[in-house]
């Protein structure tokens, strides 16, 4: 249990640094950036208490906000996906989640992609809506959400495959 906590803390800071030092400056095709720091929220152990989880997600978003001078947009998006995560888990994994026996390293690939995609899309949509903060630019918001989401989903899936410690 203790090593799991340490692991989470390490992941928390590593993902923030990777996000603010590398991923915020990719600017693919002008302005498309991935936001793989949400992996912390996506892969947080399931059977933990939700209050702590939501609070940690808030802190994660807030740190990214401080580094990228964006007010509270990441914090808001992170808190929201942390809050809706159980629902999405149930939708994506079904029975496995009901039995509280979920471990991300041995879930099916397809299910995992669906789970990642839904949460990442929600996160990016809220984030860009709050960043642009003007409902008349809805096309711009959706466009940014779509491109960034694709980038983030690919990156998240790749990272989760590369770093999954699957021992049978």
């Amino acid at each position: 249990m203790n090593s799991l906590t340490l692991h989470s803390i390490f992941r928390f800071f590593l993902l923030i640094l990777v996000q603010v030092l590398i991923c915020n400056h990719i600017n693919f095709a002008g302005s498309v950036n991935p936001y793989p720091y949400v992996l912390f929220i996506l892969l947080f152990p399931v059977n933990n208490n939700r209050t702590l989880f939501i609070f940690l997600s808030f802190m994660l978003g807030l740190f990214v906000d401080i580094f990228s001078d964006s007010g509270g947009v990441h914090a808001a998006a992170c808190v929201t996906i942390a809050f809706v995560r159980p629902t999405v888990l149930k939708f994506a994994f079904g029975m496995m989640y009901e039995h509280q026996s979920i471990k991300f390293s041995n879930t099916e690939f397809g299910n995992r992609v669906i789970y990642f995609s839904i949460l990442i899309f929600i996160h990016h949509f809220i984030m860009f809506t709050m960043e642009i903060f003007n409902i008349s630019n809805i096309i711009l918001i959706l466009q940014k959400t779509l491109f960034s989401s694709i980038f983030t989903i690919i990156l998240c899936v790749l990272i989760s495959i590369l770093f999954s410690n699957k021992q049978q």
Partner: protein
Amino acid sequence: MQQIINFVLRNKTSLLFLLLFVISLALTIQSHSYHKSKFINSANFITGGVYEGASGISDYFGLKTQNEILVEENNRLRSQLLNSSDSTSSSYASVDSVSYNGRYKIQSAKIINNNYASSKNYLTINKGEKVGIKEDMGVITSKGIVGIIDNTSNGYARILSILNTKSRINAQLKSSNHIGSLIWNGKSSQKVQLNDISKFAPVKEGDTIVTGGQSSIFPQGIPIGVIDEFVLDVSGDTYTVEINLFNDMTNLSHVYVIENLDAEEIKRLENPIDE
């Protein structure tokens, strides 16, 4: 009473979510109103330190280009110095920058964090209050303007980039004195827009736009860019001008911070008794 406590305990996750969401919403709204994002910004000890460490490494990759830019600027200044007609002597000794007592004080600084892809871009530099950098000072490079300092800490300062939809800078045509305000529509990092140019102004494609002398932040005549295209407004009274920037905002390293020594006096004169 018991029921209220029970209600709170039962819904503590939702309540916590609501609380945190409202907090972040408040922070976002605060960051959207000009001159108020005091609380969450990258000009602080921790983020400044991280960015400075990272830029210490990544700076090595741009050394060659930066050197060329500096040599180019030196070249231009040198030729200005040697060819100036009104100077009484051409010896270098007479040009003593320390005893310079004009209206403006200039300091060099280095960008340690550059953003240009979102709609609200900020930059961070490695100098702060310790060396006298304050809010509302202008920031330029050898090629053109960069932005205005909007937040400072002891060792770092944050710049509100001209590539920020909140930015409003006074600008004018180089050929005449028609002024307008420089804004950004958030679309391209090479282009900014100039609003409110009178329809009587002699606007031509390819004309140079410079900073106007109406604000106490920038000196008059700092280059901004050239006119790409222009259209008459719907009302028919003013032009909206599309400008190609001289500066490559995606590749900035060394900048100059300009302090207007008379800014206080001008401000005092313009708003005599506010309270």
